[in-house]
Every structure is written in structure tokens, then in C-alpha cells.
Symmetry: C2
Subunit: 428 residues, 2 copies
Amino acid sequence: MNTPLRLGIAGLGTVGTGVVRIIRQKANLLAARAGRPVVITAVSARTRDKDRGVTLSDYAWEDDPVALAKRADVDVFVELMGGSDGPAKAATEAAIAAGKDIVTANKAMLALHGQALAVAAEAAGRVIRFEAAVAGGIPVIKALTEGLAGNDITRVMGVMNGTCNYILTRMQSAGLPYAQVFDEAAKLGYLEADPTLDVGGIDAGHKLALLASIAFGCQVNFDGVTLEGIEKITIEDIRHAADMGYRIKLLGVAQMTGRGLEQRMSPCLVPDTSPLGQLEGGTNMVVLEGDNVEQIVLRGPGAGMGPTASAVMGDVMDIARGARLPTFGQPAASLAQCQTATSATPAPYYMRMSLIDKPGALAKVATLLGEAGISIDRMRQYRHDATTAPVLIVTHKTTRDALDTALTGISRLDVLHGEPVALRIETV
Amino acid sequence: MNTPLRLGIAGLGTVGTGVVRIIRQKANLLAARAGRPVVITAVSARTRDKDRGVTLSDYAWEDDPVALAKRADVDVFVELMGGSDGPAKAATEAAIAAGKDIVTANKAMLALHGQALAVAAEAAGRVIRFEAAVAGGIPVIKALTEGLAGNDITRVMGVMNGTCNYILTRMQSAGLPYAQVFDEAAKLGYLEADPTLDVGGIDAGHKLALLASIAFGCQVNFDGVTLEGIEKITIEDIRHAADMGYRIKLLGVAQMTGRGLEQRMSPCLVPDTSPLGQLEGGTNMVVLEGDNVEQIVLRGPGAGMGPTASAVMGDVMDIARGARLPTFGQPAASLAQCQTATSATPAPYYMRMSLIDKPGALAKVATLLGEAGISIDRMRQYRHDATTAPVLIVTHKTTRDALDTALTGISRLDVLHGEPVALRIETV
């Protein structure tokens, strides 16, 4: 096995450049570990004349990633362009058709087209690896697909968008409102060009859908993820949560229920003493639960050149060492089209609403909650602020359906100022 | 690839029984994930007539594990007997000679004989997998060997003996002395037959030596681990550490230094806000640091039937899927005999000593520290307890050598009551 493994790298942004750097700096170490040299034969990017701080003149250049994908001197097509469709998808499909293995960091492409790509790759006897697509440098795809292969996975949870966790923990530590910290994050370059991908939970939702597919043997189904962003979270919510011993996190949860696969990406309250509650700043954390292993917690950097390139290299090294397994842990053709279950797992909820100061307003709210079958664990009405009174409610276990029924009724009462907020309290 | 993978399991204690149970209960799931059935053909244990709660009548029985290891209908020899030498080693050697792959949970055997066994296995084209030998259910061998294969590892740390962490956290939470909590742990069955394996750091030291070999490309060298147990830790140490914002953990640290490989397993102070500091009870944690990935933290159950069997099954499933790599991540024949460096990395230290109440005693201690080149960050002398005065010292960064020189001098002064304690403060 001394034949070199030859990579074609499409996309030379931060991650692509990081991968080139590792392969140039660690040729001997990689060869010792893989049992064969790992080399780059060709690269491709949008702009050729740009100083990326690494030498590229040793590699063939292709303007067109599809042409790169088809090259006879490429064994593995490393897709680091991004984008769910367009060139990334076209080049990945071309690479599979040309008999190449794929390593990608593209969560959007796999969350939307992963099933079709996996079927095509497996029909061609090729693998698609995507460690870098989920939780940056944390080897979570590997832990779930391989390390925990002897478990029925019972639940997967994760804080997988570092920007959202930065915003939420910075709001708490500095006592600043959402809008101000959002602007800070934008200035620091932490936000995607379309910030909804971050704060709307879409990016993290893509990652959750990929984990859920592996965990539960379902075809990846991003449309089945119930998405809720962090835009409505106020500094008051964070303070109230802290008073009660909780932290607010944009938390992804996937679990199989009697009604189907439940996938949620939403701000949740978690105990401040739990590993998830203690996670500060841009760090990511994934919690994997299985019937045998109980609970494994993985923590690490969710982004950045080094960590993401490290994840890409883990996949490359596996291919170099001859490890081959189906994209989602079992043959794509055998993955089930799982029913989507929303609101299947009951939980306590934290609610905040601003009541207009009218006699009987609070009683009406309480009545509607009771009629929806929701019992109240704790309720607090704060001192009046001019004409409105903030009310906090912590419910006993209920379903999101029951809660939405109650909230619809409450909205009709005409006693609320603004939108109510309802956040799940997750047992972690 | 529909040929079944056939296991011969030697050792039917907690872990062996757990593996049998998983293979019986999850035959379909395992086959879907592996692409082939995973079956047991033969088993072996010391006592045949014993109700283990699982059906064994479907499998051939061997009284002798060596005979099991040689059976023609066994592809993988699963060694779950334990013991560094004796039957476990004899049977493992026989299995390698007979062309079988090995899966083992035996940290002692690999820490002492891993190099020779790996050389033999690799010469025969066989693999030895040992995920279950380190940190129970946490897939840390996989994360280090495969997930982080694109990194120069800079440091590996871990709390890898659940019993010690139970004792230390229970002392703190209940305010109980070491001896009492030790007895509690013994009654709960948490201690090995020879408790020195736990509280002396030997068991955790075995695990550290295995991780260090993979991380730094060195031949496994348990003799190179500087071992210190937790027996000397008092409730006062725990309280003083807490006052200063630290927790005491039996912490393993391995790092490559200019003077060679440093491997330490000793009680250390770590910040109470760090993931290691927050680790309570019997849970394990491993911290992996690499030049690209920065820092990955893995947390999970370090023992127990389910978690350990889960780790064994991860290895079995890898073999079933055709993943093959050298025992320690690169060919054993290419592993270096690394120099052992003790006391290479400086650190601040916490010291506690009990001074006999004589004029000038404290000054003499301070002088000797100064003469050894150790500068003092903080010093506190407590109220006298009859004729002795407890003194706490936190030093600036120094080496263990300098500290030992000072301590030797201090012992000669004849001003100490009992033995002084010196614990490293580790940056995590």
C-alpha cells in the first residue's frame, strides 16, 4: 500500500488553505500514519491570482471544479466550496460519476441532497465523508457512526452554531441586549453573509439533520427539523433563566418517538450545572446517548481554519488507510423514510409575556392554560412598567401542541403587549 | 461482504456478558451497519456452570482460552479476561499466531506488552483494537488515532479512573476524610481487588501510557509514567484548593518535550471552572490537544457493563466493516523508543506542610525554597493547632526537580510534622 492517495481540492478559502498547509507541513507524519503518502495533485478555486500564504505551484490548476473532479490523477475529490447547490453539487456528482471518493465540509449540500448523493456514491462503490460538516474539529460523525455502532441511539443533542452561543453567552456575561451583541458579532466577522443561517438556526439545523440520519437510520430530512431562532431572546429571558438555575442555548435535539423522528433546533433552557449549560462562547458541544453507552459528551471548536481542516484530514486519512463505510453508517438504499414527529416529547416550558394592565388579565391567561391541559409550576408577575406587566410562567410537562393552542387563545384575548415567548426546558 | 464475522469471546464477566447481550439483541441493526452479520461462535470462561443471564448454549464452549483463540471458526479473538500476563497474554499470542484479529479491554496487558504484541500482530497482518481499555465508553482511541490523524498532538490529559474521581469529589461534597470515603468506595464495590491499582494511579497510568504511544508515535512505556496516588490528599487540601478556585483531580498528562516524553499520573489542581474541574463522580474525561484542532474534550462513563461493551462493539464493528489500522496508529516497527523526561514542564505548585511551632521555622522553609530557585506566589500560615501550624504555599512556575530539592532540604530541618504534600497546578 505505498501508492500515494491523490487529492483534488476544490475551494481554497480558509478551510481549503488549511488542508493544503497540513499536507505540505506533515508529509512524513501523514505517510507514517496512513502507510502511504497523501498528496495533492490538483486544486481549483474562483480566483487564481490571490496570495493564500501557501505554495500552490506544485499542483495542477483547474478553473472548473467539475473538470477537477473528473481528473484521472485524482482519487479523492475534496469539496470545500460550500453552497447547497450550484458548483459544489455539480462537481460532487461529477466526481462520483468519475469514480472518486468524496470528502466534504458542506452541511447544506448534504442536508438537502445527502440521500441522493449517498445512493449514487454507494452504487458506484465510493464513499462520502463529511466530518468537517458538523461541529468543526470535533470528531462527532466518527464517534456516532463508528464508536457507538453497538448502540441503539436514544437521543442526540448539540450546541452546533458557535455564533449563536457566542451571542447568548455574551448577552449574559456583559448584560447587553440581543441587537447590540448581534452587531458586535457582525463586526467581528462571526456571522454568515445571510445571518439567518446562524441566528435562525438553519446552519445548526443542517448539522442536526445529518446526525439524526446516522443515529436513527433515517434518510436525512432537513425539512423535518422544527426550526426556531434566537432572535426573540431578550436579556430579561437570560436573566430570568439564570435566576432559576438555567442557561439559554440554541439546542438541537433529535430523538425517535412512537410517532416518528423528532428533530428540533430551538432556544432551550438547560441546567447551568450541566456540560451544555456551562458551554461558553463559540465552542461547540454534542451529546450522544445510546442504550449501552449511556451519555457521551464531545466538546471542541466548531469552526476556524485549523479545527475544520483537522476534520477534513481525519476523513482523508481514513480513506488513505482503506476504511470504507456508507455515508450515513448503513447503506443509503436501506435508510428508512422516517415519519416526522413534531411536539412528540413533552417537557416543561418557560414562558414570558407582557400583560396589558387590565383587571382579570392574568386570570384569563391562567384559565386558557388550564383549558389546554397545562398546569403551572411557577408563575411570577413583575412590578408594572408603565402600563404593562411582565409575567413569567414555568409549566409542568406539556406538549408544544398544547402550548401553541393556549398561546393562540391568549393572543386573541387582546391582553398582551407584543409576542409571547415560550422556551422548552430540556432535560440534559 | 455477506460472510459473517465470527467472534470467539474469552472472559464472561460483566463486559463479556454485555457483549454477548448486545450481539444477541441487535443482530439486525449490527448487520445493517456492518454490511454483514456479526456472530459469536465460541466462548470461554473460568466457570461454565453459572447463570450469567444470557443464553450461551448456541456457542461452542472452550475451557481453555488458548484453544478458543486457535479455533478455525473464529475470526476475531475478543479478550475480556484481564490480567497483564497469564492466560490473557498466552491466548492473545496464540490468536495472533493463528491469524486472528484481536479486540481487547486489557489495559494492563497492552501497557506492559503492547509493543511486542503489536509487532507480532502486524507481522501477521492482524489488528489489535482496544477502545475499551481506555476511558470505558468514550471513543477516545478512535478520536485520537483516526479523527485527529491530521494533527501533531501537543498534549493529552485525562481523568481516567472513576473510583479516584468518585473519592475526591465525594470528599469535597460530603466533607468527609479520605479514609472514610475509601471505605465507602470499597463497600460499594468500586475498588479493584488490589486497591493500589486505583488509588495508586496504576490503572489510570496504564491508560495514559497507551494514549501517549498513539499521540506521540512512541513505543508504549508504562515504566516511563511518573505515578503518584491520591492517598495523601486530605479534606483540608480539597478545601484549600476550593478556596483558591481549584479542584483536585487524579490527572494524567502526557506531552512531548525537548527532553523527551513526559508522562505523569498524579493528583493535580485544575481550575474549578474548567471541564476537568467540573467533572463529578465516576465519570471520565479525556482532553486531546493538537496543533490544528486546538482542544477536544471527551466525557463519558469510564466503566460499567453497557459502556465498556459499547466500546468493545465499536472495535468489532470496525473490523466487520473492514477498517484496519496499526495498533498504535502507525506501524509498531516504526514507533520510536522515546526518551523519558521527568520534571520537564514547569508549573506552579500547591504545597501543604505542618510546621512544628518553633521560632524561625517558617523563615527556614522560605529560605530553602528561595535557594532552590522557587519563588512564592502566595503563602498562608493557619492558626496553631496545639503545637503545629499548617502552612500553605502556592509557588510560581517551577520544576518538580527544584521542588524535590527544596523538600529534601526542608525535611532535614526537623521543623515538619509528618510528610509535606506538593501538588502540581495544571493549566487546562
